[in-house]
Symmetry: C2
Subunit: 440 residues, 2 copies
């Protein structure tokens, strides 16, 4: 858990603002959901591992007393609320509960989530998620829009060394089946393949064998999911089609990937995506195309998403299709910092008012008020030590100017404005100070 001091917070806000502005250009509207959800909403959506990473809220007073009276107290007796684990499940609950939302609900949501995970590089127990989702349509335009919006965010932030890896959940399932792996072992195979970029081919092979998948099946699967060197996009789609020619569901998935590729070429995502049959995405709820942002500048994913046509139905009864993309905000900030892509982001006052003891504090406030009315960011040094000390403080606070007010300035409603970069100083009426400070 981290405190964010001003310099870092200004960088985070720059990223957030870029995300907001970009998503709004795509017609997405903002939503926020509560930090605390019913455990019944959260449990069973993220797999066993996810369930264990939930932060649960302890019952209070009577409820707690009653729970502790039992002879054998269990975790489930001690609370029925938990902290939000992601933004997708709350969205599904919200859409299921609000029947008067637009049919095609394009929402974005930027809020913290909590996971009781071991922290690592770019991994925290409280972290910001930035999600963009479209509910209500099965059109591939929805996939194209979320991928395009995410690419545009990264490019706007000056970061272009990335690719969106795209796969299709159905294609991957078909490849698992074609490898000879039984349907009972499909989940195990998915979990193992999901670790490919972390533990490599040998690691996945080991994990598959531990889960009772034969050497031959493992070899088949690893051959099928990995693109041969030098094969281009069209060639890769042909290779996959050839390997699954008898599987109509697989062919439909490949066709969708081909169409999505064609669409993305007409968007800012052009040149920033590839088809990757080895992409698995951990979460259980995906049903169609899946995405993940990878970059040579970061080991691990910078975000991901996909189509999940069944999740809202878990809350609503009837199905509502949906597709979404989540940016890994904390990792993105890390990468932007490492690559020096933030530039100069200002923070703090533009001018520090320095004053002498023989000037009334009321006069000082009047001067500050006059500058603030003109839109200047003004800090008042709260005490009256020697001028040099006040000016030195103005410099460390990052103010570009010190505005000095002594008896003469107070009488004439002027300020002696000192440029802390050039050292230049001039006396100006209060009303003219703002224009001088704002002048480029």
């Amino acid at each position: 858990m981290r405190d964010f001091l001003p310099a870092e917070l200004v960088r985070r806000r720059h990223v957030i603002n870029t995300i907001q502005q970009t998503y709004e250009k795509y017609g997405f509207v903002p939503v926020e959901t509560p930090s605390i959800e019913n455990l019944s909403t959260l449990l069973g959506k993220y797999g066993d591992e996810g369930d264990q990473l939930l932060f649960r809220i302890l019952h209070r007073r009577d409820k707690l007393a009653r729970a502790l009276e039992k002879s054998e107290v269990e975790e489930k007796d001690l609370g029925d609320l938990g902290l939000r684990y992601d933004l997708t499940v709350p969205l599904a609950r919200l859409v299921a509960n609000n029947s008067d939302l637009p049919k095609f609900f394009k929402r974005y949501q930027i809020q913290p989530v909590w996971r009781a995970d071991r922290p690592g590089k770019g991994r925290f127990r409280e972290f910001l998620q930035c999600d963009v989702d479209i509910t209500g349509s099965k059109s591939l335009l929805a996939e194209a829009e979320v991928c395009s919006a995410v690419c545009e965010v990264l490019l706007k932030l000056g970061f272009s060394n990335f690719e969106i890896h795209i796969n299709h959940r159905q294609l991957l399932k078909s490849l698992i089946k074609a490898s000879g792996i039984s349907i009972e072992n499909e989940g195990n195979a998915l979990v193992a393949v999901d670790k490919l970029d972390k533990i490599g081919v040998d690691g996945v092979a080991k994990e598959l064998s531990q889960r009772g998948i034969s050497e031959e099946q493992t070899r088949n699967l690893l051959t099928l999911i990995q693109r041969p060197c030098g094969l281009d996009e069209a060639g890769e789609l042909e290779r996959l089609k050839a390997g699954l020619a008898a599987d109509s569901e697989a062919l439909a998935a490949i066709q969708q990937l081909a169409e999505l590729s064609a669409l993305l070429k007409s968007t800012p995502a052009s040149g920033h995506f590839n088809i990757d049959a080895s992409l698995a995405r951990g979460l259980g709820y995906y049903t169609g195309p899946i995405f993940e942002i990878r970059s040579p500048d970061f080991s691990g994913s910078l975000g991901g998403g996909g189509r999940y046509d069944g999740l809202i139905g878990m809350f609503k009864g009837s199905e509502i299709p949906a597709v979404g993309f989540s940016i890994g905000f904390e990792r993105l900030v890390l990468v932007l910092e490492e690559k020096g892509l933030f530039g100069q982001l200002g923070c703090g006052p533009e001018v520090m008012i320095c004053h002498f003891a023989d000037v009334s504090d009321a006069k000082v406030l009047e001067a500050a008020n006059c500058l603030r009315e003109a839109g200047v960011k003004v800090e008042i040094y709260p005490e009256t030590p020697k001028l040099g000390k006040q000016i030195a403080y103005a410099e460390t606070a990052g103010a570009a100017f010190a505005a000095i007010i002594g008896a003469t300035e107070a009488k004439n409603c002027t300020l002696s404005l000192k440029n802390l970069v050039t050292g230049e100083q001039q006396t100006l009426p209060w009303k003219e100070v703002a224009a001088h400070i704002k002048k480029p």
Copy 2:
């Protein structure tokens, strides 16, 4: 706990932006702290009632198992973390832990806090706090700055029917003593007086008597703290001085209130404050001037604050003086809504692209991309039902324009732009559409 849908969220953001911009003009810088704090940081700072309202996080796995092994399990065994209860204690912890902050740290913080309270009008279990604090100075300029900044926020939002009630913790203590109430009963008297605006004079009298304070003492106290009808600011200060002429600490407090009044007349708070010796503020940590925003438009406070010179020392060892003000964000939003002060706040796309089935989706994306590059908020209707249905949807989505693309428009890279207010329609090249939409 509440979901915020776009229309409401846009109003909340408008308030947040106004607060941010105003506070930054005063030279305040932003800070954020984690949602989860150690219980040891939180407990004992908010009084017994506050401690009971903390949301505690349940231990997980081994720690939980060990806790449940005990024969007599207690609340304190089950967790050592809790959700943030306010923003002041986290600030005190942060200032105590970061010795390289500016000497006069002017920070603002806008984040949710959590209290397991009974919900009521404008009261929620998760709610936003907007705090502004200055640490490091005992100067009354600090009090003047936070009061002025808060007033400016309210006025900027179009709300002027409020007054900041100002008292001094030391003055109130001296008045309690002058009433003949023993020092042991001071805390009880403070708690009772704090309820004056909720339960009235009779209610406070009843509560004081229940706490063992005599009828005469009660009468004395209620006479001393209430301003007689028709007495102006200067008269009230004289009345208080006369009643406490032998109490040097009280006279110093009254002198501070007189000086603060004089300062505030030189700020946007002018005409929006009064001295109110009956103001108590519940929290235990105040040591000097205290503030509360009251309005005839809302029963209860719209925010409050004060000087707390001892709190940071509880974390640091050595004392750092501090003063702050917190806006009751949820209540403020409620009042602004009730008074219709939000006006028209836009949300959602400016233009909806409606398209025919014989136009490729790739072409539609190209057109959308061209408009978005020019800064237009564009939603694409994701499917191709009859045009009338698409246009009707554009209207309900609040788009000002529908941009229609059929085979001819696709061929010529044009759009038929329909103004959904006037019904006017014209065909324009993609590049000219943005200018037409943005035209005032």
